[in-house]
């Protein structure tokens, strides 16, 4: 479990990174909606969109390999459903449709998340009148994900160093124990965070 790759390039510098977050969000949403709603045979449209995305990838200076690796994460679902679609009439067309549309949308999201710091995205959401409860939760969540990943890794290593036997049930009990401990520690930390927020005048 690595947290580095989550948005490794979000804070880099490039012409794309320097664009204001709101425009990038609007553009990403527009592309996704456009691609999703377009009939499958508008190949020319998809070509244009994809070419534009390729240009953006280049300008953003994000390594191409990174982008392609992130795309890979979406493939299991696409292939899984794809296998199902292949065994139906006109199945190949449906498969191509979901493969093309799915990958374009994933690519767009990967680009957006790696050219926009998360806090900028939160500001955009705030301006879009997303309820304040969500904003607070998303901010806290993002802040503590990395910490929890580190904690979980340390717990995993600690457990592994004390486990002599292998086996699936052991692994499951260990995993469940880690999840349980993680929740308890998160809960206790949440209490302390609440106190810290109150101490600085949280309204």
């Amino acid at each position: 479990m690595h947290h580095e790759y989550l948005d490794r390039y979000a804070r880099s510098s490039s012409p794309v990174h320097r664009l204001r977050a709101i425009w990038k969000v609007v553009a990403a949403v527009a592309i996704i909606v456009l691609v999703v709603l377009s009939p499958v045979n508008w190949t020319a449209l998809f070509m244009i969109v994809v070419c534009a995305l390729g240009v953006i990838v280049a300008l953003s200076k994000i390594p191409l390999r990174f982008v392609l690796t992130r795309l890979l994460f979406a493939e299991p679902f696409i292939i899984g459903v794809g296998l199902l679609t292949l065994f139906q009439p006109t199945g190949v067309l449906v498969f191509l449709k979901i493969a093309v549309k799915g990958n374009i949308c994933v690519l767009t999201m990967v680009l957006l998340s790696n050219t926009t710091p998360f806090s900028s995205l939160l500001v955009v959401l705030q301006r879009m009148k997303v309820p304040h409860l969500f904003i607070s939760i998303l901010a806290l969540m993002y802040r503590y994900i990395f910490l929890l990943v580190d904690q979980a890794n340390r717990m995993r290593i600690a457990r592994r160093s004390r486990t002599m036997r292998r086996g699936r049930l052991i692994a499951w009990r260990s995993g469940a124990g880690i999840v349980g401990q993680l929740f308890i520690r998160s809960m206790e930390r949440a209490e302390r965070v609440y106190v810290a927020m109150t101490a600085r005048g949280w309204q």
């Binding site: 998360f118 993002y142 802040r143 965070v193 106190v195 810290a196 927020m197 600085r200 005048g201 949280w202």
Partner: protein, 252 residues
């Protein structure tokens, strides 16, 4: 002229009834740096939480804590939060925003300052702790020392009159520890710190209060109290090395 912080006969029990503090009385003058020492579980952190008004959870009865003459109560809480800056033991509990800027600006924004005031205070606070340019950094990628300093900046940004610090240098590497130490030493405002690190207390505090089992055992000049080896050992502490190699009436 009222004292910076005054505690009069403070008592506090946890929800399950266990008494945590009994008959605590403390006086701190403006600009002083006072230490609160004692073994684990003595109630140091609980006491500190009273100085900022986080405890007690509800204020009934007569006030026990006074900041600059003002009693700490439900009505005065917002102002007390601003006046008394509280630094917690674990910086990860206190750095709860996605970026350094948002975290340091949290207090000023809560207190309703204008955007320009907020930006200015953040920049100023970060400069004072020596972390200019850290605004866009994410807390997770900071070193331990940097985290402590950002927490300090977050408190400074509120322009407090009193700094209350719980283990300000816990677990820091020597260089960061020196940074934090010299920072605390140079502050003109009133400082109250609780710590197990008796070397730190000796270096920074002119007076200490010794707390054990929720009551004040004694108080006095740092070298006198910490130099009393029997007293220290009796309360789960020990005489710091810095005093072993120093004349008790020398520089304090």
């Amino acid at each position: 002229m009222s004292r910076a912080v005054e505690v009069r006969n403070l008592g506090f029990s946890y929800q399950d009834g266990t008494p945590a503090l009994r008959g605590i009385s403390i006086e701190v003058d403006h600009g002083e740096c006072v230490g609160i020492i004692g073994p684990s579980g003595a109630g140091k952190s609980t006491l500190l939480l009273h100085l900022n008004g986080i405890l007690p959870e509800s204020f009934d009865g007569s006030p026990s804590v006074f900041v600059n003459g003002t009693p700490v109560g439900a009505a005065t809480l917002p102002d007390v939060h601003r006046q008394v800056g509280l630094l917690f033991q674990d910086p990860d509990d206190q750095l709860f925003c996605p970026t350094v800027f948002e975290d340091v600006s949290f207090g000023p924004q809560q207190f309703g300052w204008t955007d320009e005031e907020v930006v200015l205070s953040v920049r100023d606070a970060l400069a004072r702790v020596g972390l200019e340019g850290f605004e866009r950094r994410s807390p997770h990628h900071l070193s331990g020392g940097e985290k402590h300093l950002v927490c300090l900046a977050g408190i400074l940004a509120c322009k407090p009159n009193v700094l209350v610090l719980d283990e300000p240098a816990g677990n820091l590497d020597p260089r960061s520890r020196r940074k934090v130490l010299s920072f605390i030493r140079e502050q003109p405002v009133t400082r109250i710190l609780a710590s197990h690190d008796l070397e730190l207390v000796t270096e920074l505090c002119s007076r200490v209060y010794l707390l054990d089992q929720g009551t004040i055992i004694t108080s006095g000049p740092t070298t006198t109290v910490l130099g009393d080896e029997d007293l220290m050992l009796a309360h789960g502490l020990e005489k710091p090395h810095i005093l072993r190699h120093r004349h008790p009436h020398g520089d304090a």
